[in-house]
């Protein structure tokens, strides 16, 4: 009882003196909670059917279709590549195409012979680069996050806490602002110049009003980095389109120089669409 009285007295004195403990410290900023840690090197996840299917992005409908095919006893004698191709076709025609505007759907999927990255060694824009396979190196700072991709040695900055320039002129990689939401990093990107979205074989032209929301989370065991990216673009999409992608924790890997892109000396156009 005496102890309780003593604690009350101390508390009262503290209030009067406004100098005890944390009572008078500045209010903790909203983002002072431990931020989720994504820093380090990520790369292609261990080989599984779903991760192979999602190697160049995928949709939830595509994954569901692949799993349904794998679980159907009628397919027990069909090799995986055949099932994967069927799921790719389904994803392209039933998941992606219905979300495209009529104009965009006409040219979908694009002929791989028209890929500017292939024809002219032109680095990918934002809506392809964020789904790039192989390594992704993440560096988290207080005011920004730097992401570096092995493919094309692509780099981007994500500004945090309202930092960064007030506005940014349109560019291939756009302007990205981010925030932490619990265990997730949420990134909103705009100011992306018209370019290509997605990666072969399910890719299309997007306009200059593309907006994207990326949500990155880390698996409970820390071994995977999961991305869901929702794209909106009035020129190419009738409704939002969500892609998925995953990386595996790969601290031993490094990003190698990407300096030997060679333009093709011979190509076959048309008829090579998937």
């Amino acid at each position: 009882m005496c102890r309780v009285k003593q604690q009350i007295r101390i508390a009262a004195i503290c209030v009067l003196m406004t100098g005890c403990g944390q009572a008078n410290e500045p209010a903790a900023p909203a983002n002072s909670a431990p931020r989720p840690d994504f820093s380090g090197m990520w790369s292609d996840p261990p080989t599984t059917a779903v991760d192979d299917f999602c190697f160049m992005t995928c949709t939830d409908e595509g994954i569901a279709r692949l799993n349904a095919l794998l679980d159907d006893p009628a397919n027990d004698s069909r090799p995986y590549p055949e099932l994967s191709r069927e799921a790719v076709r389904y994803q392209r025609e039933e998941s992606i195409r219905p979300r495209l505007t009529p104009e965009t759907a006409k040219a979908f999927p694009l002929d791989p012979a028209d890929d500017p990255g292939f024809l002219r060694c032109e680095p990918w824009g934002f809506a392809r680069q964020i789904f790039a396979p192989h390594q992704l190196e993440v560096r988290q700072n207080d005011d920004r996050i730097e992401m570096r991709y092995a493919e094309w040695d692509g780099r981007r900055t994500i500004y945090l806490n309202g930092g960064g320039p007030a506005s940014q002129p349109p560019s291939p990689m756009g302007y990205s602002v981010g925030r932490y939401e619990g265990d997730a990093l949420v990134v909103e990107t705009s100011a992306v110049t018209a370019n290509l979205a997605g990666i072969f074989p399910a890719w299309f032209h997007h306009g200059n009003q593309l907006r994207a929301v990326e949500r990155y989370t880390r698996s409970a065991d820390g071994s995977r980095l999961e991305l869901t990216a929702t794209l909106e673009d009035p020129q190419s999409l009738r409704q939002p389109l969500q892609f998925r992608k995953a990386w595996g924790w790969a601290p031993e890997e490094q990003i190698f120089p990407y300096t030997n892109c060679e333009r093709p000396t011979e190509i076959k156009k048309a008829g090579t669409r998937p």
């Binding site: 790369s43 292609d44 080989t47 599984t48 059917a49 192979d52 190697f55 160049m56 794998l70 679980d71 006893p73 027990d76 090799p79 995986y80 590549p81 055949e82 099932l83 994967s84 191709r85 790719v88 002929d111 791989p112 012979a113 890929d115 990255g117 292939f118 790039a132 396979p133 192989h134 390594q135 092995a150 493919e151 990666i199 072969f200 074989p201 890997e253 190698f256 120089p257 990407y258 300096t259 030997n260 892109c261 060679e262 093709p264 011979e266 190509i267 076959k268 156009k269 090579t272 998937p274």
Partner: protein, 146 residues
């Protein structure tokens, strides 16, 4: 045609869009439905990104020397599967199988190679396919046992 050859053709015909060709699709240049095999002497090997390259001196039926280009996956994919710059050396006699170009030019997309030691190196994409195919069979077997 042996069973092994039949299986090889089946795998090549139905191979999905392969991870190893992430930089761009191979279909505008190479015919994925066909395979060719060349035997020649290595004159150059560059283990680089986005695609490693070999040049192989092949003597054709008329006795003429033809420089073949072998396009391979990138540095990362190959090193992950055991390749180093010392895996092959200039002067090595190599047997290489892969997809020919649509035009029939002296160029091939690597699928497998037999080194002078007899060791066979596969396209990383083909190795992944084999892994997943085994997983598929395991999954089907487990379902059948329930």
């Amino acid at each position: 045609m042996t069973l092994r050859h039949t299986l090889l053709v089946a795998v090549l015909l139905f191979a999905p869009y392969r991870a190893a060709t992430a930089h761009h699709a191979f279909s505008p240049v190479y015919d994925g439905s066909k395979t060719v095999t060349i035997v020649g002497t290595l004159t150059n090997f560059r283990l680089v990104n986005p695609h490693a390259m070999m040049t192989v001196d092949v003597v054709d039926k008329a006795g003429k020397h033809v420089a073949w280009t072998v396009e391979m996956p990138g540095l990362l994919s190959l090193t992950r599967h055991g390749w180093t710059e010392k895996t092959v050396s200039v002067g090595d006699k190599l047997t290489i199988s892969g997809n020919p170009t649509h035009t029939g030019s002296a160029r091939v997309a690597f699928k497998r190679i037999v080194l002078p030691s007899g060791k066979e190196m596969l396209d990383p994409g083909e190795e992944s396919d084999n892994t997943i195919e085994q997983q598929r069979r395991d999954r089907a077997r487990q379902r059948q046992q329930k």
